[in-house]
């Protein structure tokens, strides 16, 4: 990309940031809340993007780790009574450590086997949280108290936005680095990666642990925004939700997870509210239809499709110019 391209990109980012900062004052209360939740989910999608999009390992355990992060945070803040600022990072560390324990055996498997093993783990975790009331609080769940500075809706919005930006910066630093290309080499051709001296297992494990750390953060932020949580947060359905957000937004890009998650989250919420009498689950049908269409027409997701359209348009423009000179 040339200097002018970088300038355009930087300006676009600044404008986007400005809009994000102004939104709480432009949107209604309800929408601010939905947007806050959508941003927390985006962090979760970004975490899946690291292990699936960049490293090529399809984890279907992220619903479980989301729930583990949420509960770790909720238990520390509410029942242990730890300080908020200690609980939040500690919840991420706990999730990452569990990720290490799960990754050690499961990352020995490859491809669809890894997906199945991680899905099984998620099902087990859901059953555990469903049945161990002392841990999850059962159907009532538990409350998640908020610190004084986060009682306001807009304050929580900015709080989650800050963590989303932090996650994006960290992800960008990782994927543009030597570590990032190492992960991509494993996705691309694991045998060749090993043949050029890359310890693929160790790097996959590292990516998985980082990914769990980040999804733990997302879970904690969700619990914080909701003010309460119950065992359903560990549902494996959320693993598939994240997968769909990622596939529709665009795998192995940084903008894809943001566009896919926020876009779909709003769309689903909107469909929930319009509803169609007697067909409560109608929106899931639409959801499936959207997924199908995106996979057929935009195999690289929405951002991939936009990028291709942009390159196509630019290519035509260039050709036009060249044609004029030649003519």
């Amino acid at each position: 990309m040339g200097k002018s391209g970088r300038y355009v990109k930087a300006s676009a980012l600044l404008i986007l940031l400005g809009i994000a900062a102004a939104l709480p004052w432009l949107l209604g209360k309800y929408q601010v809340r939905i947007l806050t939740l959508a941003m927390a989910w985006t962090i979760a999608t970004l975490s899946l993007n690291l292990i699936l999009g960049y490293t090529g390992q399809a984890s279907l355990a992220h619903g479980a780790f989301l729930g583990i992060g949420a509960y770790a945070f909720g238990i520390m803040v509410q029942r242990v009574g730890l300080n908020f600022w200690i609980s939040l990072p500690l919840a991420c560390v706990v999730t990452a450590l569990l990720g290490l324990l799960v990754g050690l055996p499961s990352l020995r498997t490859k491809g669809p086997y890894f997906a199945i093993v991680t899905l099984c783990f998620n099902v087990i975790i859901l059953k555990v949280f469903e049945n161990w009331n002392w841990l999850s609080g059962g159907i009532q769940g538990q409350v998640v108290p908020r610190p004084a500075f986060l009682t306001q809706r807009w304050a929580r919005y900015y709080f989650v936005l800050a963590f989303l930006l932090l996650t994006l910066v960290a992800m960008r630093l990782i994927v543009k680095s030597l570590l990032g290309v190492t992960l991509m080499s494993i996705r691309s051709n694991e045998d060749l990666a090993e043949a050029v001296g890359i310890n693929s297992f160790r790097n996959k494990l590292l990516a998985f642990v980082i990914s769990c750390f980040v999804v733990g953060l997302a879970g904690a932020l969700l619990a914080l925004e909701n003010g309460q949580l119950d065992f359903t947060i560990t549902n494996y359905l959320y693993s598939f939700y994240l997968l769909i957000y990622l596939l529709i937004g665009g795998v192995a890009t940084l903008s894809g997870p943001v566009v896919g998650t926020i876009g779909l989250y709003f769309l689903l919420d909107y469909m929930k509210n319009i509803g169609i009498k007697g067909v409560e689950e109608f929106r899931y049908f639409l959801f499936g239809l959207i997924l199908l269409l995106v996979i057929i027409f935009f195999p690289m997701g929405i951002t991939g499709g936009v990028k291709r359209a942009w390159e196509w348009a630019r290519g035509r423009f260039r050709k036009g110019e060249a044609g004029e000179v030649a003519g």
Binding site: V181, T182, L192, V196, S200
Partner: protein, 255 residues
């Protein structure tokens, strides 16, 4: 000359099939060893054993005096053995220069901490890697493809890139599995020239090839395999005239 690579009684069974049967040979440092044999003779299996892709059933592999038998591929690579694959293996969707960067990764140490806090080590390693990429692009003549996805460049350029990726880690021994396979006659010369220049850099080479003429001019010594057994070894001309080799493989000496 001392042997850089020494293979002793190397055997690999696949079920009841003996793919490689008690093979011994040595590769002196700085030389080029040619490995020939009919299809299914066990040549690629031999490379997979040396490279650590599969463990041997029996036998030993010594590299620079060190026993590397049964080591995982990434450890073998770090020890200084680089390789290319028969079906040209590249990181296809990634640009040519990124393929080269990955080839260098094992010589760098930047981890998560370096990456997130942009330490001096990370910057230094990034700059060193860039310099090495430039050098290898020049050496392999791939400069004009640098930004293109590796899977989209011509077949012959892909073969050179595979060698380039292998060179990024500064190996002492390079294993080439049919480096001119599927490449036209005129383009073969460029790859032969590249292999010659690799040797001039002091890198020892083992090469599997079917093109006998090419082997005659390139290899210092040859090993001939048939049904997993070494049936001949020596200077190319002598091997070519060996009745057992002619019987199994050549039909007649073509050189």
């Amino acid at each position: 000359m001392t042997a850089l690579l020494k293979v002793q009684g190397l055997t690999r069974l696949f079920g009841g099939l003996v793919a490689v049967n008690k093979v011994d040979f040595e590769v002196p440092e700085g030389s080029i060893l040619g490995i020939i044999g009919p299809n299914g003779a066990g040549k690629s299996t031999l490379f997979n054993l040396i490279g650590g892709t599969i463990p041997p059933s029996e036998g030993k592999i010594f590299f620079a005096g060190r026993d590397i038998t049964g080591w995982r591929p990434y450890r073998v690579a770090r020890e200084g053995i680089a390789r290319t694959f028969q079906t040209t293996a590249l990181f296809e969707e990634l640009p040519v220069y990124v393929n080269l960067v990955i080839g260098r990764r094992m010589r760098t140490r930047s981890g998560l901490g370096d990456v997130l806090s942009r330490t001096p080590r990370m910057r230094r390693e990034r700059d060193e890697t860039t310099a090495k990429v430039m050098e290898v692009l020049e050496f392999t003549g791939l400069g004009r493809y640098a930004g293109e996805p590796a899977g989209s460049i011509p077949q012959e350029a892909q073969k050179r890139l595979a060698i380039g990726v292998a060179l990024m880690g500064e190996p002492r021994l390079l294993l080439l599995d049919e480096p001119t396979g599927g490449v036209g006659m005129g383009e073969t010369d460029e790859i032969i020239d590249l292999i010659g220049r690799v040797r001039e850099r002091g890198i020892t080479v083992c090469v599997i090839e079917h093109k006998m003429r090419m082997m005659m001019s390139l290899a210092d010594r040859m090993v001939v395999l048939n049904f997993g057994v070494k049936i001949a070894e020596g200077e190319p001309r002598k091997v070519c005239e060996d009745p057992a080799v002619i019987e199994a493989y050549l039909g007649e000496c073509i050189a």
